[in-house]
Structure formats: C-alpha cells, structure tokens
Symmetry: C2
Subunit: 202 residues, 2 copies
Amino acid sequence: MTFHEFIKGDEGWVIQRRDSLFVHQYLEVDQVHLSSPTRPELFQWTVCHRKAGVVVAAQTPEGGFVLVRQERVPVRATLWEFPAGQIDQSGVHEWQTIVDTGLRELEEEAGYAAGPLAEVVSMHHFLSSPGFTDEHCYQLWVKGAVPAAGGMHLDPNEAIIEVRVFSWNELQQMVLSGEIRDANSLCCIARLGAILSAPRGG
Amino acid sequence: MTFHEFIKGDEGWVIQRRDSLFVHQYLEVDQVHLSSPTRPELFQWTVCHRKAGVVVAAQTPEGGFVLVRQERVPVRATLWEFPAGQIDQSGVHEWQTIVDTGLRELEEEAGYAAGPLAEVVSMHHFLSSPGFTDEHCYQLWVKGAVPAAGGMHLDPNEAIIEVRVFSWNELQQMVLSGEIRDANSLCCIARLGAILSAPRGG
C-alpha cells in the first residue's frame, strides 16, 4: 500500500530509507530518512500515511449548500459538514476517479446527485496536517446538485443523522460561531469565498 | 499521555474500552470500544491521538498578514503557511496557554511579536481530520503584530526559508490558485473571511 505517489514536483527531496513503524487498515506510520532541498544532511521524520479523500461543496440550483450532520468518534461530537469520503485506490488520482468518489459520497451521505445541468469544478486539494501526515483531500464544487432518485445509502459505519441545505450567509454565521469546525468544510468555504469574491472576467 | 480531555459536551458517548495499538512520541493509536448518542450498541473505532496545535493569523498595523514558507516532509513540498505549532501540555487548554503558544510560534517561526497596541482574538479551533484523529488546532487572530526585537529563533527541526507579509487580496489569490493548501491557513482564512464580511455592529 503506497499512499504517497500523489506527490509531484518533489525535486530536491531524496528518501534514502523508509522503516515501517506501524501498519493498520486505516493508517501506516513510517520513519523516513531523507534529505530535502535546504537540508542536504540526512535527517529523520515520522510520517503517517492515509488514503486521500474528496470533499464536495454541492450547491443546489437555488444557491444553497448541502451539509450533513454526523457523529465523529475521535472527537465525540456531532458536526455539520460537507459530504466527504476516501478514495479507495492509492496512487496518483485521475480527475474522473476524484469526481466519481465525490459524487458517490454526495449520494450515499446526503442523497444528492449532480443534476442534468450540473457542473463539477475543481477547487484543488488541501493537506489536513502536513507536518505529520500525507493525507490530502480533493475539493469539488458541484453546481446544480439535486435530490437523488434513490435517496441516501448510508454505510453502516457512518452515523449521519440529518441533511440540510444552508445558504451562503448561514454558512458564514456557522463559521463565525465556530459551529462549522472540520477542516474539510472550512477549507471548502475558504476556496468558495475566494471564488465568489473574485472579480468576474468579461 | 492523554490528548483527548479537550472534548466537552460529549453527553451520550460512553467509552467502554480503549486498547492501545501504537505508542510513539508524536502520535498514539487506540482501538476504542464505545457507544454514541445514536448508536447504543457497542462498536469500534480506530483513533489517532495528537497534541493540540495553535495557528496564528498575525496582521500588521498596515493590514498585511505574516506567512512563513516552510518545508513539509510528509508531502515533500515547500508551502506558504500561517505560523503554527503544538501545545506541549496535554489536557484541557486555558486561554493563556493557547495565547502563549501562539505568540511563541509567531516569534520563533516568523520573528514577529504582538505590538504594544496588539489585540489577540480567538477564532475558535478546527479539527484537521475528525474521522481519524482528535487533532485540533486553536486559531488566533493577532491584530497589531510587529517585528520582534530578537528576530526569529528557529527550531533545528524546522526549515523555514522565507517570511513575508501578504495583503488580504494576495492571500485570496493564493487560495484561488491552490498555492495556499494547508488546513491551518485555509481554516484561518475561512474564519477571517466570515469576520471581515460580517456586518459591523453600531
């Protein structure tokens, strides 16, 4: 299992040795011996590998955003979040794999699908904690999301207890109050904020 | 080492057993047997514990934001980010501990300090990947940051190669282009965006 081939443009980084410290279904930990562009002497770092994810900012034709309220075990809290999930395949991810994963999660978790006039726009990716893990999450903006014919299909491991459409102003209030507090959603809101406030080209 | 006492308001969550799978200086992995508010039957989850962090959006009196450019080993990339670091103490964190950690990192990594008229404002915290880890990062907005008398004091483990002040519009361009792509910075920009666009009280 190699989660780390997503890295491109790593000129000047040389991995000399990689010792596996822990292997598990959901994460792997390596001790890496390497040199970097500004550190030619060999040094060590502990790296936690995780599968890549996809998070979806799905916007209805009326302009609202689809969020799910779900239980999150590590923090023992129930959070409002954009739908998201992991990419099963490791390695380099093609655009179509990212879109397929994002739309699958949108339908499974929220019961929404890309409508006939929908547009799926890349908002790049973000790194959840790049001092510690290579986990990265691709960010999609689905413009024109509509209720899916078949509704939700929840994974038995997930506890999603509510789905709701929020306006941009409501999202901003939830960011201000701290109610939205997962990186997936906040990073999408940062990208959307930059997109929505950018001057429109002619 | 218990990183998880930060959790408050966890009514309905009952941890029955916690088996340690991996213990390391920078992370611990547990297999937790628990029930949740909507899942009364015992189930299991793998939880990665990490120390809490503090990230600082430091704004100069002229309105620019202080960013550092640093090498990030797990993704083998050099990124522009807001200064950030971990809180050494585990457990529940008092406001003063969070502020002290944030200002320490601002000075060590960027060579900036809170000026005589500075104001330190809480922007809550975010969860870097709450399906997998309890890692959380407190977000501070330091208004009125000035160059520190003593300059930077870099940790030998860190490779920070540049410090620069960016305008809000420059940050928005770097969010749009994907150049800013760590959760620390994007989550701060999401909160700042909501704060700066909120209607001002009279």
